[in-house]
Amino acid sequence: MSRLTRGYVTNELNIMTTAEQESLIIRRGSPWWRMLLRDRFALVAALWLFVLTLCFLFGPLLFEDAATKLNLRARNLPPGSLEHGWLMYLGGDALGRPMLARLIVASRNTLAIALSAVFVAMIVGGILGMIAGYVGRSVGHVIMRFADILQSFPSLLLAVVVLYILEPNVTNLVIVLAITRLPIYLRVTRAEVLEIRERVFVDAARALGGSRYHILRRHITPVVAPTLLTILTVDFSIVMLAESSLSFLGIGIQPPEITWGLMVAAGRNYLSQAWWLAFLPGLAIMMATLSGNILSNWLRVVSDPEQRWRLEDSSGKKSGQTDA
């Protein structure tokens, strides 16, 4: 409070409420890692995603051989024993291959496919949604009907048809998965844009002479982006499972390549004898999704100036926010 100098304004009446005084002493900018340290959930999520990144980068390099080596004595080996080496700690699959090594190796395919699919869907859907919401009514109608068609078509059927016509390789798989997820991003973006474009600060930017591109980039994208990122993290798991169903139908990733989704599908046959075959890759999917979700939520708070104080370590209590 003492940092506040009164009478800083010429011809000012010096009438300041307590709230106003408080608003003047709020301090600026904790670095992002400080804010990450203050949110334990987000910290754990970030660490987990970091581990996954390491698996993604170095996993196949280190464990490719181990993951494909058969060991019939370790068939459906229950997890929790170090008898067959630490790679067998999470048990063995139906052919006695170590689950841990397979999970690590599978992370690359899984993350590469699911992440590229949801990012492509988010970017394309976001751009189309912005055009539909901001540019013009007739263009918007065309885009929305396109989204309707995509949504009314059973996505699995669409994928089967497309992959049957095209060659079922990784690129096409990503494209198909992205197309089926597109309408969600498109609709959410359009809805947000329709709301934001009516805000007064957008009018102010227009009155300043700002072009559509300027307004979309500076005023609309920053508001829409956190919402889309949150959807993306939820979509992530849906895409991983969709990818596994395609693989199951024989038009996705094929063995000996592995993905978590494929491991879930393969483990399903042994649910009654060896539940961990399906459970562990399922857990991996769930934890990756959850971590992404928690981290995107943290990111949303950090990117919102009105929420950021929750994570700033200014004596741990809120000091901004004047509702004068």
Partner: protein, 336 residues
Amino acid sequence: MTVEASGTVEAPVLEIRDLVKHFPATGGFATTRKTDVVRAVDGVSFILRAGETLGLVGESGCGKSTVARTLLRLEEPTAGAALFHGQDIFTATSMELKNIRRRLQVIFQDPYASLNPRMTVANIISEPWVIHPDAAPKAERADRVRTLLENVGLRREHAERYPHEFSGGQRQRIGIARAIALNPEVLICDEPVSALDVSVQAQVVNLLMEIQERLNIAYVFIAHDLSVVRHMSHRIAVMYLGRIVEIGAKDEIYNHPRHPYTKALLSAEPSLDFSSTRKKSSRIILKGEAPSPSNPPSGCPFRNRCWKAQDICAHASPVLEGHAGHRVACYDPEFS
């Protein structure tokens, strides 16, 4: 159009001619759809000279803000012309419009909504220069933001903060700083103080007057608070149901109002001056409410609330008449 100013040869900065803005209002299902037209602005003309303030008053819903929004081309007008230094704003191409907007700026009513909550004050105030990069070289922007902040009564270090950390009055100052960042010639103030506390209102009004004196900006000052308008304006236009019913110099309007609506409006102004000649009995109370702009009365829009309405008022619509400094649209102008 009659020339409003006698004696001044100076060309007006802004000249509005017969501005009309109708909003279509459709309701009901496709089968029973009826299309109404809301006549928000129905033929408004006025001029604005360099450095002067034109107060635009009238009750809620009379079309004041619509005039402002159409002038800024935030809404497309239905008809009319708005000449900014002789160039029509309404027919300008997007490049021409961008140049006009550089010299024609706006302050909005709600200081809470008019600033992007995700941008720092520095980014908000320098946005005009991002849109018009030649207005300020990049290297100078940070410094000019801080000078502008001081000019509007804030502190240099406020530049790094976000809008939610400020009170309403402070936010409005930020809005003013953004509006004058491009050194405009005309500033449209759309009820800039009506969302603020009375004590803060006075500060913001004084700031606006100080800025006008320093930068010679012409204001179109929209308000429903008569005392604020009286304090700010050189000339005043009174609007009722989408039309200007009386326009003239401030003293003329306040001391010798001629239109019945203006009289009623002025008599409703709260006063602390108990000993004045204005007694309680002189308060004019209008009957009923303002008619809907989608279904205005025939002839004079004010006739069904007017105590002086004659037969002619129902048949013909009065036009603004009178000498240059004071014109009124009424068939019974009382000369007092």
